[in-house]
């Protein structure tokens, strides 16, 4: 039996190569277990259809007008919801023998997490594509043109990548994937609804309006709307970029520290 390699690599993969190998692993999982994309596909479609046709008439007088207002919001919302699964997936991975093997290998320690998050970009883009595509089918028109839409999708995806580190931190602290999912949505539901996604905060009572205006999700949605409408200002976009960087700076190191300590 040949157990000796014909060629031996000189050294293990570096941080970039290892992370990309793990990103490839995430994409393969999507290919082999496509049903795990159910949430990625279901959430955006449900939100867009439900809110447009159910509340559109009541909120804006017509579903068409409401869709123009709502769609950039559901785009941000759908992608933000999908980020929770980064924490769920990591938590599930941690209990497997495969992860023990990875952790006993001479590779950059955070590579499995960084790689998984790179792979998750694919999920975010898929969710974003679904919302935008569905929106166009329902009659949404982007005055910002193709570039505006692409910029909006890009901004939402970058924000989501930073936010997913918050869920990986949670995924390292909580015991089960279900606990990560439940707590994730318990946090996300009030935060996303207390924003300008569904209604203009100007219609809210003063105290609530202040809360909604301060909500990071509102800033993200305002910038996304403006990009898709072609009215975005540099400060709107930069504001979101700064927020994204802040989230990343807190949660990426936290995730790495928690991961190193985890036994």
């Amino acid at each position: 039996m040949t157990t000796l390699a014909t060629t031996q690599p000189e050294k293990p993969a570096g941080p970039t190569a290892a992370s990309l190998a793990f990103a490839w692993r995430s994409l393969l999982k999507i290919k082999h277990v496509p049903e795990q994309l159910g949430d990625v596909i279901g959430i955006p479609i449900l939100f867009t259809l439900l809110f447009t046709y159910l509340f559109g008439g009541a909120v804006s007088g017509s579903t068409h007008d409401y869709l123009q207002f709502l769609l950039p919001g559901t785009l941000a919302l759908a992608v933000v919801f999908v980020t929770v699964y980064s924490g769920v997936t990591l938590n599930r991975d941690l209990t497997t023998g495969a992860f023990d093997r990875f952790r006993s290998m001479p590779i950059w320690r955070p590579a499995p997490i960084v790689g998984a998050l790179i792979g998750d970009l694919g999920r975010y883009l898929l969710a974003a594509g679904l919302v935008v595509g569905l929106g166009f089918l329902m009659g949404y028109r982007a005055h910002g043109g193709v570039l505006g839409v692409l910029a909006a999708v890009g901004l939402v995806t970058v924000f989501a990548s930073a936010l997913s580190w918050a869920w990986t931190s949670l995924g390292l602290v909580l015991r089960t994937p279900t606990a990560v999912m439940n707590l994730g949505f318990v946090i996300l539901f009030p935060v996303t609804f207390l924003s300008n996604v569904f209604v203009d905060p100007a219609t809210m009572p003063g105290w609530l309006r202040h809360l909604a205006d301060a909500n990071p999700i509102s800033h993200l949605v305002t910038a996304t709307r403006a990009l898709m409408d072609g009215t975005a200002t540099g400060s709107q976009v930069l504001g979101v970029v700064a927020m994204t960087a802040a989230i990343m700076l807190v949660f990426a190191p936290l995730t790495v520290v928690l991961y190193q300590r985890r036994q």
């Binding site: 060629t7 497997t96 290998m105």
Partner: protein
């Protein structure tokens, strides 16, 4: 500061790991010479896996220290990881990837370029008799195939020290034989192996040295011969023609060998360990026992004499932990 002889792959002293109230590993010492197969034998929950997790840098010991090829498993974990490979007790490959993709992924992580990773994967699939299953998801393989994939994944780059945690638990005899063959060929290629097992015959078949572990402690260790000798040079087993004579036969046998004769579920069977290190004297006593039984009018249908099986050693060791201190070398 602990010093390590250069020819030791593993040198562990006083390893302790506690989970809440449970002392899962309670002061384990292990020395594994380079190039050998070291068997850690013990029942479920004895502390085998926890010991392995400390030696493979996955768990930090609460007390004690261990060196792998001279590198401390806590302070020099990165250096240790360069020399070892771990095949965990449960699926240590990704169930949602195909057999071949698993091997390619690990090949890439080990630093193989894409083409070499694929070549190495195909080479291993061929030699581990997995070529037909290369496109199947690892989660859908049979137990034996899965274990072969687990082990193949551990030798993509030949490790200096391979940890195999219960490599044949739950496998049918044919698959076990296949895994044993694989382990032997890995050692022949120069890898040191630490394997844990619940099966005595597996340790007997494969291991050069064996540590018997129970309740987190090494209760005996040594070569197979040493372990067996620790319960005496030999034992007598016999079956009587007439089970009604067993009480009388038990007394005669105990009197001749100078140790209690034991019974088990078989109403006609008796056995006794001969408490002597001297092989010639021990054999003499066995012969005496046979003639004294004949003289007493007790007919024997089956008689055997020989070294105790590891089974008997294990039962003697774990069943009577108090006597163990003497048996431990």
């Amino acid at each position: 500061m602990m010093t390590t002889a250069p020819d030791l792959a593993v040198h562990a002293r006083g390893l302790v790991k506690t989970f809440g109230d449970l002392r899962a590993v309670d002061g384990v010492d292990i020395d594994i010479p380079v190039g050998s197969i070291y068997g850690v034998l013990g029942p479920n929950g004895a502390g085998k896996t926890t010991t392995i997790r400390m030696l493979t840098t996955l768990l930090r010991p609460d007390a004690g220290a261990a060196r792998v090829f001279g590198h401390d498993v806590v302070r020099e974990a990165a250096l240790v990881r360069r020399r070892i490979s771990l095949t965990g007790q449960f699926a240590s490959v990704d169930e949602d990837l195909t057999t071949r993709e698993n091997l390619i992924l690990l090949g890439r992580l080990h630093g193989h370029a894409a083409g070499n990773a694929r070549r190495r994967a195909d080479e291993l699939l061929e030699s581990f008799d997995l070529a037909d299953a290369s496109g199947r998801l690892a989660g859908q393989l049979s137990g034996g195939m899965r274990r072969r994939l687990d082990i193949a994944a551990s030798i993509i780059v030949r490790p200096d020290l391979l940890f195999l945690d219960e490599p044949t638990t739950g496998l049918d005899p044919r698959s076990r034989g296949h895994v044993w063959e694989v382990v032997r060929s890995i050692v022949a290629a120069g890898t040191t192996v630490l394997l844990t097992t619940q099966y005595l015959d597996e340790a007997d078949q494969l291991a050069d040295r064996i540590a018997v572990i129970n309740h987190g402690r090494v209760i005996a260790s040594g070569t197979r011969g040493e372990l067996k000798a620790s319960t005496g040079a030999g034992g007598v087993r016999l079956r009587l023609m007439d089970p009604r004579q067993r009480n009388r036969a038990q007394a005669v046998l105990a009197d001749v060998v100078g140790a209690p004769a034991q019974t088990d579920g078989d109403p006609a069977a008796l056995r006794a360990q001969i408490p002597s290190d001297d092989q010639a004297r021990s054999t003499g006593l066995a012969v005496d026992a046979l003639s004294r039984l004949a003289a007493a009018g007790i007919a024997v249908s089956d008689f055997s004499y020989g070294q105790p099986s590891l089974d008997e050693v294990f039962l003697a060791l774990t069943g009577n932990p108090v006597e163990l201190t003497e048996a431990t070398s």
